[in-house]
Amino acid sequence: MTYHLNFDFVWRHFDKLGWGLVLSLELAFISILIGMAIGLSLALAYTGGGRFTRGIVAGYVEFIRNVPLLLLVYLVFYGVPSVGGFAYDATTSFVITLAVYAGATMVEVFRAGLAAIPGGLIDAGKAIGLTGWQRLLCVRLPTMFRIVLPSLSNAYVSLFKDTSLASVIAVPELTYGAQWINTNSFRVIEVWSVTAPMYLVTGYGLLFLLQRLERRFAVH
């Protein structure tokens, strides 16, 4: 074998990878925030709603969960503007896609969280005379968030990995930076063996930090 490793080009353009990583984290963070808003409202609508509302929410969740994310990325970036008569840049488009995608996961997470609240807690709220809204804000939501924290941190790390798909619509995140170096230098092994550990270390690092946060708020 005569292949010699040479990381020069990768290090010279490391800013593409470094800033790409930052953008990946940002994309995942904004998406999960919007996704949580979608998920929470729909989970509450599902829990309190009639058959029609439940059908709509279930339809949304099932559709998103059973279609490849790549197809959704294309659909939002190329498809929607073609019929809507408007345009947005690739980053916005990807954030919308990932938020809608995260929303479907979040509905399931929050729905399970709401269902896991002990019935006695809500009854106790009723007994001390809290109104429906007060029970929601002061009893159900705080309890639910503590229950779903582990699922939230897993979802965040998983979304962080999914941001790699933004490269297909030229959002300059980590995978895009890696592809740029790949096509410009053909230092294939070098660039991917730097990129993969970046995902790996960031992903597990995040998980570690979030798990410490979980322990702090854990339900005993």
Partner: protein
């Protein structure tokens, strides 16, 4: 516009066939490798445990897309020349195997230790204990999450379009490239993926309901 979508169906059909072909291969390979390695991680000694644990954590920690690009572009540099389909099947299988390992591990570890001990007591050898005592009980815990992994495989197979394999995803892209009518075709493609995956996840739910009577 709808006419174009209908006329492109035979072409999309070919793409769908490639998607299914890749998915089936990956499901079979990852099932075999995942079960073997999963048993290895539960019962193996430390020199078997640690390599499998590192493999599984490593592959589950990087995006599938990165793995596909890595294997697809890097294998030729180390003088391993595979056809493009073989390269992506290898990448997807390696990725799914890591997930199956964890499913197998979870399924086996959900069985009370006493079962294994009881089987030892009546003199069953390791293979017999696995086959007659552990496996029949573990399979119920294994099937629902495994079906989810199959759905993930079909969804993940869309990524092979990015290295130029004409699967359903790329077939859709190519038809759009010619007709310039993105929306109906993307929706059509989404429906095709949805039909496959929804049937699979419905089957998974049915299985879960079927085994719901088991309580520990």
């Amino acid at each position: 516009m709808l006419l174009y979508a209908i006329r492109s169906l035979p072409f999309l059909w070919q793409g769908l066939f490639v998607t299914l072909e890749v998915s089936v291969l990956v499901v079979v390979f990852s099932l075999i490798a995942g079960v073997i390695l999963g048993v290895g991680i539960v019962y193996g000694p430390w020199w078997l445990y640690w390599p499998i644990r590192i493999y599984s954590d490593f592959l589950r920690g990087i995006p599938l897309l990165v793995l596909i690009f890595f294997l697809y572009y890097a294998l030729p540099f180390v003088s391993i020349n595979l056809t493009n389909i073989a390269a992506v099947v290898l990448a997807l299988s390696a990725f799914e195997t890591a997930h199956i390992i964890e499913v197998v591990r979870g399924a086996i570890q959900s069985i009370p230790r006493g079962q294994n001990e009881a089987a030892k007591t009546i003199g069953l050898r390791f293979g017999q204990r696995l086959l007659y005592v552990i496996a029949p009980q573990a399979v119920r815990r294994f099937l629902p999450p495994w079906m989810n992994a199959v759905v993930d495989t079909v969804k993940g197979s869309a990524l092979v379009s990015l290295v130029g394999i004409v699967d359903l995803m790329l077939a859709i892209q190519q038809v759009i490239g010619r007709t310039y009518i993105p929306m109906p075709l993307y929706v059509l493609g989404a429906v095709m993926y949805f039909v496959i995956n929804y049937s699979l996840s419905s089957a998974s739910r049915a299985l879960e309901a079927r085994f719901a009577y088991i309580r520990e």
